[in-house]
Subunit: 209 residues, 2 copies
DNA sequence: AAAGTCTTGATAATTCTTTAACAATAAGTT
DNA sequence: AACTTATTGTTAAAGAATTATCAAGACTTT
């Protein structure tokens, strides 16, 4: 698709809208105005309207937005209705925590494979999926064609591993390793999550006060 | 301290500078120019110089920056030399992963307490720290005065828990729960980490291609 | 020690993001 | 059915962030 290019800032707010709309829906509400939503979310109403209008006019003057419709629209924009096969590499505590707590199904992902190098982990079941040896990755990817990989491996392993996965057709990475991954090809997408950076940001804010 | 107010964008880049400078130091380098660093980090040299000059002129014309000095300066700016006592509440896989993998000592934090409500976890040792019952939180905080809490509890528990902790003197939160925490008092700092949002952002980028 | 090179810090220009304003229009009300 | 109120989508203005530029000055070489 060749859409008009949406700014990063807008994209990063979409999941938050999606969450809040889900909560409102669960609470039984059917409509909301940009003003009311802005108060809940600590944003300006203007920003919400501006953001949503990047994708279309989902609201109705004098009424606001239908919560369920808007949520579905945003879900569609986020690609949640196009499930992507996903593997996790590195099944230590972090890998396990992600496997168990991330609601993959709700977010457009299907967890299909778990990998680790550590003998003692191989064969363990997490969420009814067996942990496989990383040495079987090539074979698994050829058979199952996962599109997304979540990495929680040691820093040293990351670069070679991501190269291998890109060759095997993986298009998206959620990278929790200490290695700063950059997209090697234009069709590859990387989301780096450095938990340590968040800690340091917190430290800064505590120190400045 | 009443500093000239640094923008969010700058603050969020500081930890990344800190990491890269650490890597360069470990690799044995002693100096680097903004241009060379910008190429490694995929930024502009201008931005790096602009960012650093928010805090002072750490560079030298015709030479660049001394890696070790600059790293120390940024560490100091980040408050890494002022260790903050920290507790983790919620010792499921995520809490355990954070306890074991986050390098607290390097980042200005000292892990002093671990808490969970689940009977089977209480008493377990992680990093030589016992997991305590959440019911002992008041007592622990009065005795140990932790400044920072990392939350990995269920959504429902978060609001009440954070209120309780603020009353007990906790000033900083790293919030991994599905509840969007907002700083209730001006002296309280919150860093929300929604891993699900990162997944959805990734989903968007994969879908747009 | 002079000439040349490099690289900063600062300022200016540009671009991007957010906020404000308001006409248009749909819903709700009498 | 007309009138009032609410709220959008859009355009314009303001504010931030990023990038480009360049004089000043420190290092390096001859």
């Amino acid at each position: 698709m060749t859409n008009p290019v949406i700014s990063n800032s807008v994209i990063r707010r979409l999941p938050r809208y999606y969450r809040y709309l889900g909560d409102l829906k669960d609470a039984g509400y059917t409509r909301i105005s940009s003003k009311a939503l802005s108060e809940q979310m600590n944003l300006t109403a203007s920003q919400i309207r501006q953001d949503l209008n990047c994708f279309g006019g989902f609201g109705l003057q004098g009424y606001g937005y239908n919560i369920d419709d808007l949520r579905k629209e945003i879900g569609h924009i986020l690609g949640i209705d196009a499930p992507k096969k996903t593997i996790i590499i590195g099944m230590g505590n972090l890998g396990k925590a992600l496997a168990q707590h991330l609601k993959f199904e709700n977010k457009g992902f299907i967890l299909t494979g778990l990998f680790d190098v550590k003998e003692s982990l191989i064969g363990q079941m997490v969420r009814n999926i067996p942990i496989r040896s990383t040495s079987t990755l090539d074979e698994f990817c050829r058979d199952n064609k996962p599109e997304v990989a979540i990495l929680t491996t040691p820093k040293e392993a990351t670069h070679a591993l991501s190269d291998q996965l890109v060759k095997l057709g993986v298009k998206g990475f959620l990278n929790f390793t200490h290695y700063d991954l950059t997209a090697s090809h234009p069709e590859v997408t990387v989301e780096n999550i450095h938990l340590g950076d968040s800690l340091m940001t917190l430290s800064y804010r505590l120190s400045e006060k």
